[in-house]
């Protein structure tokens, strides 16, 4: 069995049947990381003791004849925005350089309870603000398909880790596309669940009305399994949804008669011709599986990016007020009073994009501008959600491209914040409307770069979204992997 190309489901079966030990699996992935990650830099923290002790605990559990969890012995990479107890959690920021959380995020706790093996913490744009992972204070991550290109972001480390075979599964967080966009650019599966499906407790907050934790994998079935493990109500997050956890994997099935909406606003100028062709081909594949395609309209799509940058920056400016140099994290030395302590600590501790968003958010919430910007943004957010409500009266899912282009060169957009924001044009609406959405690989461009096919569903429509993605995947059979990494 080739452990590095096995699916999570296969690894779990092999571990639970004793064909391979969890320790051997962890060792294989740690070796792969040691070999490949110097080129990719997907990880900010790898600790063999942490991973191997978790793996050995799984092996002991098996030896004792105890029942094993749904992810027994499966290595999972964890985005560095999720709190891991006693393990550094930096959010890609200097301001949290030495931060070791005193508690674990609920999704991390559930992962460990399912006998998964943490394989490391992954790189990200600082505080999840960015679309290229170039905003990390610890240096960028490279796209495993072409090391001169960005992997997307903000969960670029998690996407690259899965793409490069350094982890079969990873957790990321998605606020405006931070799971789906890097998944598309790295040729892996990535899913943002319905807002509230996964607890945000222990997810370091960026924009609380949008943030959602979700899975990365190479196969849809693996993503379904990981999502089933981390989903569910949590009394520590009052926005988590009460409805019971479903077995998403068991729900994967036929899509005969599935009504698929194709939004005309997603096939516009700026969409790369090759990405468009791959997306249309993917739609044709769904149709051949028995789905019924229907054009729908989401007329406020052109306003989504502007709306998002009001809402997310307003929330970020409030959430990031906690970094004050007093309670935890970095403190600037030698300041003479408390205001200077705050201001100097934040000036030295935050990178440019984080400062820009705090400033923009403070501005749109400030006296005299609140109605014109923040309130206006919330009203347009309602219009965007109503677009989806209307479309979903006719269709079960909505499908189109995940990103307008394949992976771009590092540095290409880093000097122009607005150009970077526009990378998220197709992913930004789903979080504004709270909807689940997945990106599945749908082929390679002539330059050998992956493109992603996005499927969005209704609130709590995870089963339908995953079924459509799995049916597409089975029919399309994308099994390309990046080469020349080792």
């Amino acid at each position: 069995m080739d452990l590095l190309s096995a699916t999570a489901v296969e690894i779990r079966e092999a571990v639970s049947s004793g064909k391979v030990s969890a320790r051997e699996v962890a060792k294989a992935y740690l070796d792969r990381i040691a070999q490949v990650d110097p080129k990719v830099h997907a990880f900010l923290y790898v600790d063999p003791d942490w991973s191997l002790s978790a793996a050995e605990a799984v092996d002991k559990k098996r030896a004792a004849g105890k029942a094993l969890g749904a992810l027994a012995g499966v290595p999972v990479a964890i985005k560095d925005v999720l709190c891991t107890k006693g393990i550094p959690t930096t959010c890609g920021s200097r301001i949290l350089e030495n931060f070791k959380p005193p508690y674990a995020a609920t999704c991390v706790r559930k992962l460990l309870a399912a006998d998964a093996v943490p394989i490391g913490k992954t790189n990200m744009d600082e505080f999840a603000m960015g679309s290229s992972t170039e905003n990390s204070a610890y240096g960028p991550t490279a796209n495993p398909w072409d090391l001169s290109r960005a992997p997307g972001g903000s969960s670029g480390g998690s996407a690259a880790a899965v793409a490069a075979g350094m982890a079969p599964l990873a957790l990321g967080s998605d606020t405006g596309g931070s799971i789906r966009q890097p998944a598309a650019l790295c040729g892996v599966v990535g899913m943002k669940p319905t807002y509230g499906r996964v607890s945000r407790y222990g997810l370091v907050a960026f924009a609380s009305s949008l943030d959602q934790v979700g899975p990365f994998s190479r196969r849809v079935r693996d993503a379904a399994r990981l999502l089933s493990v981390i989903s569910g109500h949590d009394e520590c997050d009052s926005t988590s949804i009460q409805s019971p956890v479903e077995d998403y994997e068991a729900a994967l099935g036929s899509i005969k008669g599935l009504r698929v909406g194709v939004p005309k606003e997603y096939f516009v100028e700026g969409l790369d011709k090759e990405v468009e062709a791959l997306t249309r081909k993917a739609l044709g594949t769904l149709e051949r599986q028995g789905a019924i395609l229907e054009e729908v309209t989401l007329p406020h799509t052109p306003y989504a990016v502007a709306t998002y940058y009001i809402v997310c920056t307003a929330e970020a400016s409030s959430n990031l007020a906690r970094y004050d140099g007093a309670h935890y994290g970095f403190r600037q030395k030698g300041t003479k009073d408390i205001i200077e302590l705050y201001s100097q600590t934040r000036e030295a501790g935050f990178g440019d994009e984080v400062k820009r968003r705090i400033m923009l958010g403070t501005f749109v919430l400030s006296s005299g501008y609140y109605d014109a910007y923040y309130l206006k943004g919330l009203k347009v957010r309602r219009l965007i959600k109503q677009d989806f409500d209307r479309a979903f009266e006719k269709v079960d899912v909505i499908a189109g491209p995940t990103t307008p282009t394949a992976a771009f060169k590092m540095g290409e957009k880093s000097e122009d914040p607005l150009a970077m924001y526009l990378c998220d044009i197709f992913t930004i609406s789903a979080p504004l409307a709270g909807l689940p959405a997945i990106s599945v690989p749908c082929g390679l461009t002539s330059e050998g770069l992956p493109a992603g096919f996005q499927i969005m569903g209704k609130v709590l429509g995870e089963k339908t979204v995953l079924s459509a993605a799995a049916a597409y995947e089975a029919a399309a059979g994308f099994d390309k992997r990046p080469r020349n990494l080792s």
């Binding site: 502007a306 705090i358 009203k379 309602r382």
Partner: protein, 100 residues
């Protein structure tokens, strides 16, 4: 959202930086003034939409009044909560004097 002049002139950036408690450098004031003005120009396209009688939407999956029993549970010990403090004295965070 007034059209025309730069929306984030230097004075506005300085004011917002003060509200945000970020001690920006001279170079950053200039850079952010340019970049934020461009972003606000882009955002101004929302003016094209008539939003009279549209209710603002703060959270997409609307939840109201989530309540739970008020039960005392175990929480972090003071030493755990303070473990990451840059400076502390006993069970307290230490900061520069706030009052003279």
């Amino acid at each position: 959202m007034s059209e025309g002049r730069s929306k984030m002139d230097r004075a506005t950036v300085e004011y917002v930086a003060r509200l945000s408690r970020v001690a920006l450098s001279e170079a950053e004031l200039q850079l952010f003034s340019n970049q934020l003005s461009k972003i606000l120009d882009y955002i101004a396209q929302l003016n094209a939409l008539d939003t009279t009688n549209v209710e603002p939407l703060a959270q997409a999956v609307e939840n109201v009044n989530v309540l739970r029993e008020d039960i005392v549970k175990e929480s972090l010990a003071p030493w755990e909560a303070l473990a990451n403090a840059p400076e502390k004295v006993g069970d307290f965070y230490k900061v520069p004097a706030v009052l003279e």
